[in-house]
Amino acid sequence: MTEKLKVEHLTKIFGRRIQKAQELLNEGKSKAEILNAVGATVGVNNASFTVNDGEIFVIMGLSGSGKSTIIRMINRLIEPTSGKISIDGDDLTKLDKKELLNVRRKKMSMVFQNFALFPNRTIVENTAYGLEIQGVDKDTRIKKAHDALELVGLHGYDNQYPTQLSGGMQQRVGLARALANDSQILLMDEAFSALDPLNRKDMQDELLDLQENLHKTIVFISHDLNEALRIGDRIMIMKDGEVVQIGTPEEILTQPADEYVERFIEDVDRTKVLTAANVMIRPNTVNIDKDGPRIAMRRMLENEISSVYVVNNKREFIGIVDASHVMDLIRQKVTKLDSVVQKDVPTTKPDTPITTIMEKISETSIPFAVVDDQKHLLGIIIRGAVLGAISGNEVNADA
């Protein structure tokens, strides 16, 4: 993957005495201290991140966390105080007025929270706006705009006015306006936040569908973690103008960087994002080709468990043996485990979402075995671990 957008040490300070505020910031003073000392507000403090080509990068945080400021610095609707923003290696902060216009016209398009459609223009004229100001002739731009509208699923509304459309449809127009420009980068500022939950979900699906074909580089601002987890390839969490954590949705959920992120992810519906691999624990195993009943017994005693998983030399999963059967074998002086292995153990793949196996897990007493395509035993899922993961606690192997 190639880097498309690179942001380095980006800082924005609002208000007066910016120079002084910058110095204080460099000394490591906090946002509140700087506000008290010089009356300047730190919007974004030293943010660095890269967005890869074709990636949906979600910047997430509560209001006042600086996420909207960051996205506006990317197209310089807000001028950065310091730092560097580059697209394909070209530094945006060095551009003069004309070059900046060109970048805005060709390289990125923005979608707004409250749609920001021009009420005096029809839907198709709104969609064609970006092309119109580039001086594209009327027939071409209307055709392109029409195609973009079809792409987002708006048929037959070309000559209506924005106020005649519902919120969801208006935002489709907003999206179409951005797509009509054919720029590689989409900046989406809380694009779906103003929509009702059902519409929001539809639009998220729509965006993911579009993305499969278009492979845009998308910077998406959101305050909704569920949304971020749903659409983001990677997520950046911000607090008080600072970057707290950058990672894939799974990393955010499984390895929260600090207490703040932990609190954030507390009320996420984890079952939707957690997979079998996230909640499985290492099983105790015996090798059927090598180990006999005595080894199996020993392993169970060592770990204070009543059954043990059985694999072969290639670590392929065979089944499970329990203590009482093994005891019988020892009494009968049999040296092989084969005769007592139970093979009807439920199995699942590592990437299966927890939701789909949840019910079965609660029904069966034997833990699920997680096996990959080569039948290798990767881990087991015990009920306690599932509940623990869903409630957000550490997965405890002893559970």
């Binding site: 216009l101 805005r104 923005m110 707004f112 920001a116 005096n120 706006y129 100001i133 306006r177 420009n181």
Partner: protein, 283 residues
């Protein structure tokens, strides 16, 4: 206050006016230019037969309000204009109309760009706002004196005084209208790479238009209120008739001419409002 010397404001202004009188060529040029506009309007109005004029006004009103069918307004216009004709004030009415249209036109041409400039620059706004307050609150009679000094007597100084008095609403409302364009629309225009000019023409002015037109409407009404005052320095028209009636203590003809002004005012007001409505996209 016997001990404190009086500040010679009057002297200063007189000196300034005297100094300005040195620029005769400049003022003559303005006089000729405005005189040209006035003569143009007057020529057109004199050319159109009265019955055709009435038909045009009523037809225009019908067309502008074609969706709502304002029959009461059309009836009022018909009766009102016939009244003016009947009273023998037709030519006076067209002269007043010329004065109003000319000063509104000038107010529009100067006021709109100034309003835009104010909206774009905080500094300009800070400077222009008190000047507008001054222009609107200074008694209109005061403008008559230098207007006569620079432009002689007749229609032109009347127009100039009307413009000074009537222009502020156009400037203010243009400024207001542009500043009221929602911030996210400005952001949208900027984010797609609009130049300032494109942003102004394609987004700000169209969205400011109904506010701007309300300002133009106000300017027109204010300049109409200046017609009687302007008649004191020789501007012709209905105001002149009222002014004469005052001089002769003739309440009857004063009222008759005053009523004609009211009729003209209402017609102008409704028509400009209808123009504003018909061009604004409906939700």
């Amino acid at each position: 206050m016997p001990n404190i010397p009086q500040i010679p404001v009057a002297d200063w202004v007189n000196h300034f006016v005297n100094w300005l009188e040195g620029f005769t060529g400049f003022f003559n040029a303005i006089t000729n230019f405005i005189g040209g506009i006035i003569n143009g309007f007057q020529w057109i109005f004199d050319l159109i037969p009265i019955w055709l004029f009435i038909v045009l006004v009523i037809g225009g009103t019908y067309w502008l309000n074609r969706k709502t069918k304002h029959w009461t307004l059309i009836g009022f216009e018909l009766i009102g204009l016939l009244y003016v004709w009947n009273q023998g004030y037709w030519r006076d009415m067209t002269q007043t109309l010329t004065l109003v249209l000319t000063s509104s036109l000038i107010a529009l041409v100067i006021g709109v760009p100034l309003g835009i400039w104010m909206a774009k620059s905080k500094t300009v706004e800070v400077i222009v706002k008190p000047i507008l307050d001054f222009m609107q609150t200074m008694p209109a009679f005061v403008y008559l004196i230098p207007a006569v000094a620079f432009f002689g007597i007749g229609m032109v100084p009347g127009v100039i005084a009307s413009v000074i008095f009537a222009m502020p609403p156009t400037i203010r409302m243009t400024n207001l209208g542009i500043r009221q364009v929602p911030a996210d629309l400005i952001e949208a225009a900027d984010s797609y790479g609009s130049t300032s000019w494109q942003k102004l023409i394609k987004v700000q002015l169209p969205l400011a238009k109904s506010t701007l037109m309300a300002g133009v409407n106000q300017s027109m009404m204010l300049s109409l209120s200046m017609v009687v005052i302007a008649s004191m320095i020789g501007a012709m028209g209905l105001g002149n008739k009222v002014y004469f009636a005052v001089g002769r203590n003739d309440a009857g003809s004063g009222f008759a001419a005053g009523l004609a002004i009211v009729i003209l005012a209402i017609i102008l007001d409704r028509i400009t409002q209808a123009i504003n409505r018909s061009k604004t996209p409906k939700a």
